[in-house]
Symmetry: C2
Amino acid sequence: MSKSFSVSSKIRGTYDVYFIDSLREHLTQLATQKNNIFLIDATVAQLFKNDIQQAVAGSRIVILHCNEENKTINYAQEIIRELIQQDVRKNDVLIAIGGGIAQDIVTFISSILFRGVNWKFYPTTLLAQCDSCIGSKSSINFDQFKNLLGTFNPPSEIFINSTFLNTLSESEIRSGIGEMLHYFFSDGIDLAQEVSDNFNQLLTDRSVLPYYIENSLRIKKAIIEIDEFDTSIRHIFNYGHTFGHAIEAITHYGIPHGQAISIGMDLANYISLSLNMITDAQFTQMHSILVKNIPAFKFEGSIIDQYLKALSKDKKNVGNKLGCILTRGPGRLEKVFIDMDEKLKTLILNYTEAYGY
Amino acid sequence: MSKSFSVSSKIRGTYDVYFIDSLREHLTQLATQKNNIFLIDATVAQLFKNDIQQAVAGSRIVILHCNEENKTINYAQEIIRELIQQDVRKNDVLIAIGGGIAQDIVTFISSILFRGVNWKFYPTTLLAQCDSCIGSKSSINFDQFKNLLGTFNPPSEIFINSTFLNTLSESEIRSGIGEMLHYFFSDGIDLAQEVSDNFNQLLTDRSVLPYYIENSLRIKKAIIEIDEFDTSIRHIFNYGHTFGHAIEAITHYGIPHGQAISIGMDLANYISLSLNMITDAQFTQMHSILVKNIPAFKFEGSIIDQYLKALSKDKKNVGNKLGCILTRGPGRLEKVFIDMDEKLKTLILNYTEAYGY
């Protein structure tokens, strides 16, 4: 293992993130411990048949079918039933291999089975590697409500390996880049500018990604160690997300998460500019970085009203005020409540007129 | 409010236990806060119609049907659906009024809804008042497995009022007494002896109970503050429980919990005696106290084999060893692993021969 760092947690004391060199070797070693049960995303199991399945052959394995429809309590119960069939015990360790949805399901199961079991995690998407793998959260859908339920329960160990990134599409890489940019902008301008300067390389050369992943996690770590349960300062990481989530909702998740929050950050910056929180030059500098990761999208026709309606449902709102994170410049994010009125609508239409395409 | 004390928690910082004088007044006051939602056990709602329903009229109310069959994730999901219909928000507070099952259901919901919401608790049974209301645990049944799932999430405030005890049956009082005795024996002999000396008064005069409840909670508090997640020293509170649970299982819960653990403690003491961990005099002293709360029961015929099988399924076992809490005398409990063999069977049969009736 080349590098590692620890994250302190109120739930678990500390947990560790390792950047591992050889996936197969590492998994083979883990498979020698008989109290490990591997829960593997079906797609990942198929794509990395040689590395994974051979390494863990002989261990207890449960295959996870990770899609939004299975991010539910009912699917978690199905998996618990499979774990019981495999004679799961309280001192067993669940080893999750997959992306964010696998993480959500295994975090949730680990939180409730025997009132909590130990789990470890190999994140396989860029989004999971650069963001969700630390921070303790699970998000579970309930009826028509996305992410209404969840728990906090971090893995005891996280193993990051770039092999998994080889099979990701450009769209998935862009999604991860959007999430990383939101951490980088919370910290300053330098890392975001580096992403911009090397943008094409990030899309094509997986070997450069671990550097950005590590920086992204280190920025997140500093905040979640202070506010693990997301009641105060961790709110700054909603930067781009309030505006981005509503884009995802109205496009029925047609725009990948990290790209939607790239638009969300740009819009948050535009609103910050209108409130004189940043200068034209600051907006332009950040826009020149973000635009590389922003897909074609315009708030046109009936979309703007759907969008405002989606924003009005955000659970961080208070009354008719939209609770969102704006910026006073790179590294200076701030929670602001803004009126959801005609002025906001006009502002968003002006934004899309100027920068949408 | 006459008395209160705080319990420190890794999950919640601290939470408070209040002994309240007037239920109706207290509830009326709580009902003025519009972000409170009352989740009330159906039987309690019926029995205390005047005190409760009038006090909380105008508030959001969800009625809980508390039975073992509803101590499930599926019932929790039904209640979450009702809460959503009542427009539950993340900053709402769930106010549970009921016994241990209401507590299990509301603890579990509070743990997973919006990744955790605040809740408060009016325990209404002696068992819930003297024991389960502090300690953070929920226990949820899964398929045929009792208490396989659960979470840790204490209420932020607990309100103990003896009005609720007025409608309890003698059997329910005896169940609470058994649980209290197990705390008292973990602490020494004095409080257990007091219970014994005043046994008939405890059965008939509800006004004497708060004194014992408070002592029971104070003993529990000292241990759970050290080991909230039940990984070490809190194990001592399995005293009487390992042997008691197996009695409950084979009698299909025909013997109330606290009475089953009274037998369980007596049997644990008998085994301790056989291992020379206590003297004859110590056994006899403790037996003279416990016997007042022990119902007619004998390990006869096929029961002994069913019993050993039930013991063998205890999740605290390691291999063929039964993990249980024995005693070196009042206040000196100790975790011991004993062989589940013919010797144990003979010992239990000798116990039942000598002390069963």
